[in-house]
Symmetry: C2
């Protein structure tokens, strides 16, 4: 980079702007990346502060970079350059016996294998977990050696943790008592308990399409049927489609991930949330809500939970700390509304209580403000690395590939052009030590054959970029 003049002149800032724009164009500076700070560039180029500032404002005006308060300038995602988004789903209206197999187990096991590039399971990278802070708290608890920390916890969970969760729930738009909350072994146990509380074997549950495969596996294991409902990649489950499905057949419960749904990343607009909750309250159908990604919004305020619109106790909210603090702790919770007693009894028979010490450590992490500080950091990281990943899809995946544009969470849903078989792609990628999740896992009918889900939980790296290049090449051969 050479800029001749040492003096501020009318064209100098234009030349500085052009230099940065060129770097963005070539991909030296990638979408979501921070561009050099004003001071740094001033020193580097030997120009005045006002020249650099003017250059950056010009770039901002052109929509190439964006300023983030107290953080600097970042390369913006260019909407005009982005691949198309997938269309709303068009699932079959017939209920199906859920039948998801060995594949999901294999996805989980490859995710815990350190030799494999983890674009499969939706887990945060180690760097994005506050392990140091969490373990410092845990060590302090161990040193204190309070005997009750080694004993059974109440089956409803650690009271201080539930108190802290209750306080935070105001961000989700509702205000439970600690006693309304039950701690669980992760969100997965919460979903199991809630489904068991409101259904019986053979019942049908209405779900989004595509839907997180973990839920399909739970339905299968509980001998429940799933009926898929049209879901928009931006606005989530379609209330009209749901209403129509409910008219056609008897449904024991509805399962929805309202915020940054897995795999679409969609977020239901507030007005639809209300419509949805009212629709089901009116019919007396329990609504199981999984809000595990809600804290990971990229901008603005936390989106509300469906529970915020619950007037009848018919919404059973489930969540966990596995996406934010610790997948390994296995601590989640549920606010099961009017099904509180049933869920609590099921918790006792299912695992007696949740691990004591991890709950105490999480309570302290929440109480001390460490959780909020951590969230502020990772939200930025996810926003940036998800943008970078979307651009990598544009750059390396075959022409015509579509991809979602989530405003939170850490998963992307990719729809390849005709010809690409994601099950084959899964096998071929795995041979090259890359894990992805093939689309058919997200549908009881094994649809979405051309789709894959990508985990955006990893900070961008050469290893991830190489993996995206390999995936793109493998897919291109099938087109």
């Amino acid at each position: 980079m050479t800029v001749a003049s040492q003096h501020t002149d009318e064209h100098l800032y234009e030349r500085v702007a052009a230099t940065i724009a060129h770097q963005i164009d070539r991909g030296t500076l990638r979408p979501g990346e921070r561009i050099p700070s004003v001071r740094k560039l001033k020193t580097k180029l030997g120009v005045s502060l006002s020249t650099v500032l003017q250059a950056y404002m010009t770039l901002e005006d052109r929509g190439l970079v964006e300023a983030r308060p107290q953080s600097g300038y970042y390369v913006r995602l260019q909407p005009r350059e982005l691949p198309l988004e997938p269309s709303p789903s068009a699932p079959s209206p017939v209920a199906t016996k859920v039948d998801i197999e060995e594949l999901a187990l294999s996805v989980h096991e490859h995710n815990v294998d350190p030799l494999i590039v983890p674009l499969g399971a939706a887990t945060p990278a180690s760097e994005l977990l506050p392990t140091k802070k969490l373990y410092r708290i845990l060590s302090a608890l161990c040193r204190r050696q309070e005997s009750e920390s080694n004993r059974y916890e109440s089956s409803a969970g650690n009271m201080e943790m539930r108190r802290q969760i209750a306080r935070r729930s105001i961000d989700q738009g509702f205000n439970p008592a600690p006693e309304d909350i039950i701690a669980t072994s992760g969100c997965t146990e919460a979903l199991n308990l809630c489904l068991r509380a409101v259904t019986r074997a053979g019942d049908t549950v209405a779900v989004e399409s595509p839907i997180y495969y973990g839920v399909l596996q739970i339905l299968e294991a509980l001998n429940l049927k799933a009926i898929e409902v049209v879901t928009d990649p931006r606005e989530g489950i379609c209330p009209d489609a749901l209403a129509s499905a409910l008219r056609r057949r008897s449904v024991a419960a509805v399962f929805v991930q309202p915020n940054f749904q897995n795999p679409l990343g969609c977020c239901i607009p507030d007005k639809n949330k209300k419509v949805l909750v009212d629709l089901l309250a009116h019919r007396g159908i329990p609504l199981i809500e999984d809000d595990i990604y809600g804290d990971l919004y990229f901008e603005g305020n936390r989106p509300k939970a469906l529970k915020a619109y619950d007037r009848t106790g018919g919404v059973l909210l489930c969540s966990s700390f596995s996406k934010t603090l610790s997948p390994g702790f296995r601590v989640g919770w549920t606010v099961p509304g009017r099904f509180l007693q049933q869920v609590r009894r099921l918790k006792l028979t299912s695992s007696i209580s949740t691990s004591t010490l991890p709950q105490m450590a999480i309570a302290e992490m929440l109480r001390s403000g460490g959780y909020d500080r951590h969230l502020r950091r990772v939200r930025k990281a996810y926003a940036s690395q998800m943008q970078t990943m979307i651009h990598a899809v544009r750059r390396y995946f075959p022409e015509g590939t579509k991809v979602t544009r989530p405003l939170g969470g850490n998963v992307l849903w990719v729809e390849f052009p005709e010809g690409v078989d994601s099950l084959k792609l899964y096998d071929q990628a795995l041979q090259r030590r890359i894990s992805i999740v093939p689309g058919p896992l997200f549908s009881p009918k094994r649809g979405y054959r051309r789709c894959i889900r990508l985990n955006g939980g990893n900070p961008w790296s050469e290893q991830i970029e190489d993996a995206m290049i390999v995936l793109g090449r493998l897919a291109a051969r099938m087109v």
Copy 2:
């Protein structure tokens, strides 16, 4: 205590023996308690070593004390003074819909309440858990901050822990590979997964009578029926009665606690273990074995697991560290034989994986020999405090009360004389801040109305003794 002569004479040892015998008789020295060491008594009485030794051997010959290698002399349990043992159960031969209610939840919650004397839930006292050692290991793990310890574990569990469990299984009489073992959130999750793997809603499971109420609750939650089988307070489930029950009706699985059963404390003799396993193998009926108390034998060698006799993979062994290392960690395991794949899939859908760090800490506890050292210590403690408790039943409970004489574990089963209602006793005791478990909880038909289970997991103390006195008085009023 006064002994006049300083010289060894023919009658001096007799006088020393009489002094100790008198203390035993008055209850100053209690059954299971250590009597003064030979050296200590020699100094105290100013007699020769050989006099004390001769006195102790005399007491031993009379059956009043017993020598324990490297440990000293202990007051023996006096069979002639003991209350009678309960007779074998005579349960109804009809299968019943399981219907256990709020009571079990209340028992658990009172157990975690520090203000209540914990004679209810079968949990070890804090002093009998190796919390210090375990937390030292955990702190060391936290300091190392290995990132994988904060991540999901394999759904089958921590490999090092499974390796250590596999090594120890030889004591139980079988030799699994680490891959045959699946870690679970306590024994309770293991039982859930195994029952779900081998039954469907509406099926019947044959169980001991009386039976651990936690199992009845699981059966109820899974919509399974229970059929009770005659069980002997010493020898456990009766193979002939089981065979006859199987001839009468179709049974999907059998559940047995072979060693120090909860609540009877019975231990199935080896020959009956083989008969039982062969009987079910022959009929292709899965046998779910809960061996959670097996490591807590008082004397001799560890009793074998039923799994030791399994030739067809039809035995699903379940266990945990909740009775020995940490109830709060929630770490158990299962060796589900030929149902390995089904159980592993159910584990993934039920809670994804078991808490990572606690498994790592337990693996190190096993590897370092700390677990075995701890077991040696607590076995003696349980043997002693259970004996003391049996004697307290004799001393404080109404005439005609019967009680079991377990050779391991930490629960006692008490059968009161006619007139005592254990449900009323439970309420009255709770008002006096004493928790017990009433008999009807141990039977789907709510039998055993005159029985209670007592937790022997607490070192003998004035508080416990006072509670036994209160229980005795309350019961006596009903006779």
